[in-house]
C-alpha cells in the first residue's frame, strides 16, 4: 500500500484528503525518490506563494507568536549521518545535560543569589538558547535596577556583545502598551526589542560600546525612538 509512489503534484498542492495524505506521508518517510520530487515541486508552488501581495499582520500577532514560541519546546533535529561522524557534534547532542550543568554551576558561582531559570536536567537535548548562552557565559555580569514595583535584571556578556534582560515583579503593561528595551549608544537609544514581565529576553543588537540599557512603556507595536521616560535604566560603563 505505502510502497506505491505518490503523486508529487497532488501532494505538494495539498490536494489529498486526510487519509491519502497520511498514506503519502508514510510512503514519503522511506522513499528518497518521492522526497526529491516533492522538494522540487515545492519550489514551484513557493513561486505561486510568492506571487501573492504581502499583507502585514497586526503588531500584536508578532508579540503573541514570539511569546508563545518562548514557551514552546522545539522538536529534536533528526539524527543525521554527519552527526554520527562528527564526534564533537554528537558528543554535544548526547550529553547536553552534562554540558549545561557545568555551565549552570559557573553561573551560580558568578551570579550568587541569582536564580537560574533553566533546569537542564528537565529537558535534555534541547539546544542551548541564546538567552542561556549569555546567562551561562564565563564573563557574565549581573546588574539590577529598580523598575516600578519590581526590578530590571540584566545579564551581559561583553565577549558575546549580548545582553539578557528580565523584568521581575513588574505588572504587565497596560492594554495597548508594551515594555520596549533600548540599548543606549553614543548616538542615542536603539530599540532592542520587547520585554514581557518575568521572561528573560535576549536584547536585539550588540551592547559593544553601549553606555546603558533602558526600558520604556510604548504603544503596542513599539516605537522607533522612546516616547516616554524610562521605567528602569542600567548603566553599562
Amino acid at each position: 500500500m505505502s510502497d506505491e509512489h505518490i503523486d508529487p503534484i497532488d501532494y505538494t498542492m495539498d490536494a489529498l484528503n486526510d487519509v491519502s495524505r497520511r498514506r503519502a506521508d508514510q510512503h514519503l518517510a522511506g522513499c528518497e525518490q518521492c522526497q526529491a520530487e516533492v522538494a522540487e515541486w515545492r519550489e514551484v508552488t513557493a513561486g505561486l506563494g510568492s506571487s501573492v501581495e504581502p499583507v502585514d499582520p497586526p503588531p500584536a500577532l508578532r508579540q503573541a507568536v514570539l511569546a508563545e514560541a518562548a514557551r514552546s519546546a522545539q522538536e529534536r533535529a533528526p539524527a543525521s549521518t554527519s552527526a554520527h561522524r562528527t564526534p564533537s557534534a554528537s558528543g554535544r547532542t548526547r550529553h547536553p545535560g552534562r554540558w549545561l550543568s557545568a555551565a549552570a554551576a559557573a553561573v551560580v558561582l558568578i551570579g550568587g543569589g541569582i536564580t537560574v531559570a533553566t533546569k537542564p536536567w528537565q529537558h535534555e537535548p534541547t539546544p542551548v538558547s541564546s538567552v542561556e548562552r549569555v546567562e551561562h557565559a564565563p564573563d557574565a555580569q549581573h546588574a539590577t535596577a529598580p523598575a516600578r514595583d519590581g526590578s530590571l535584571v540584566m545579564v551581559t556578556s561583553e565577549k558575546q556583545g549580548k545582553a539578557v534582560a528580565t523584568l521581575r515583579g513588574v505588572p504587565n503593561a497596560a492594554a495597548g502598551k508594551v515594555y520596549q528595551a533600548w540599548i543606549i549608544t553614543g548616538s542615542g537609544p536603539v530599540s532592542a526589542g520587547f520585554l514581557a514581565p518575568g521572561k528573560a529576553t535576549l536584547l536585539q543588537g550588540s551592547i559593544t560600546g553601549a553606555k546603558a540599557a533602558a526600558v520604556t512603556v510604548e504603544p503596542s507595536g513599539g516605537s522607533k525612538q522612546p516616547t516616554s521616560k524610562p521605567i528602569a535604566q542600567v548603566s553599562m560603563t
Partner: protein, 201 residues
C-alpha cells in the same frame, strides 16, 4: 556584505533554481538551534509574505491571523528539521502555511466565513505596499510574469487548486470538466511554471 554572499550555495532542484533570500536559510538554521532572536528576525522578514498567502486562501482576516500564528509556531517547533540542502527556506515556510490554510478551508466553519467575507474584501487593496520591501530574489514580479505565461485555462485550474485549497475533484466540478482534464491542466500549468522559473536565472 560580500563575505555574507560568498559561501552561500544556490538552492538548485532539478531544473528549478530558486535563489532564496540569502539570510533566510541561515536564520532558519539558527532558529532550529533555539535562537529566539533569530526567530524574531525571521518573523519580521517573512510574516507579511506568509500572512499574504494565508489571507489569499482564507480571506477572513481574523481566521487568517490565527492561522499565521499557528504557522509560525509550527516553524519554531519544526525548524530543527529544516535542511537547506533539501529546499529553500521560503518554500519551507510556504509549505507549512499552505497546508495549514488549506486544512482550515476544509473545516466547514472557515468555508462559511469565507463566502461572506469574500464579497466584503473584493476590490479593496487589502495589502500594505511597505511590506514589499521584503525582498525575495524569487521576486513577486518575476513569478507573476511566469504565471502570466500559462494559458488562461491552465492558469485558472492552477490558481483554483492552489489558492482555493480545494481538491482536484472540486476543481473539476467548479470548472465543469472531467477530473482527468482538470488534473492535466494543473499538471501542464505547473510544468510550464517550473520551466519558466527555472529558465530565469
Amino acid at each position: 556584505m560580500s563575505m555574507l554572499v560568498a559561501d552561500r550555495p544556490q538552492v538548485t532542484m532539478g531544473d528549478v533554481a530558486v535563489r532564496d533570500i540569502p539570510a533566510l536559510a541561515d536564520l532558519l538554521r539558527q532558529v532550529g538551534q533555539g535562537d529566539d532572536a533569530a526567530f524574531a528576525q525571521l518573523y519580521d522578514a517573512t510574516a507579511a509574505r506568509v500572512h499574504g498567502l494565508i489571507c489569499r486562501i482564507l480571506v477572513d482576516r481574523s481566521i487568517s491571523e490565527e492561522v499565521t500564528q499557528e504557522v509560525f509556531l509550527e516553524v519554531w517547533r519544526t525548524s530543527p528539521r529544516f535542511d537547506s540542502q533539501r529546499g529553500s527556506a521560503l518554500s519551507w515556510l510556504f509549505t507549512i502555511a499552505h497546508r495549514r490554510a488549506v486544512d482550515r478551508v476544509r473545516s466547514s466553519e472557515a468555508a462559511r466565513h469565507r463566502d461572506t467575507a469574500y464579497v466584503a474584501t473584493q476590490g479593496e487593496p487589502a495589502y500594505d505596499s511597505t511590506a514589499e520591501q521584503v525582498d525575495g530574489t524569487l521576486r513577486a514580479e518575476t513569478v507573476r510574469t511566469a504565471i502570466g505565461s500559462l494559458s488562461p485555462l491552465q492558469r485558472e485550474a492552477v490558481e483554483l487548486a492552489y489558492f482555493e485549497g480545494i481538491s482536484h475533484v472540486e476543481v473539476a466540478d467548479r470548472l465543469g470538466i472531467p477530473l482527468g482534464t482538470a488534473k492535466s491542466r494543473i499538471r501542464d500549468g505547473l510544468l510550464k511554471l517550473r520551466s519558466t522559473l527555472g529558465g530565469e536565472s
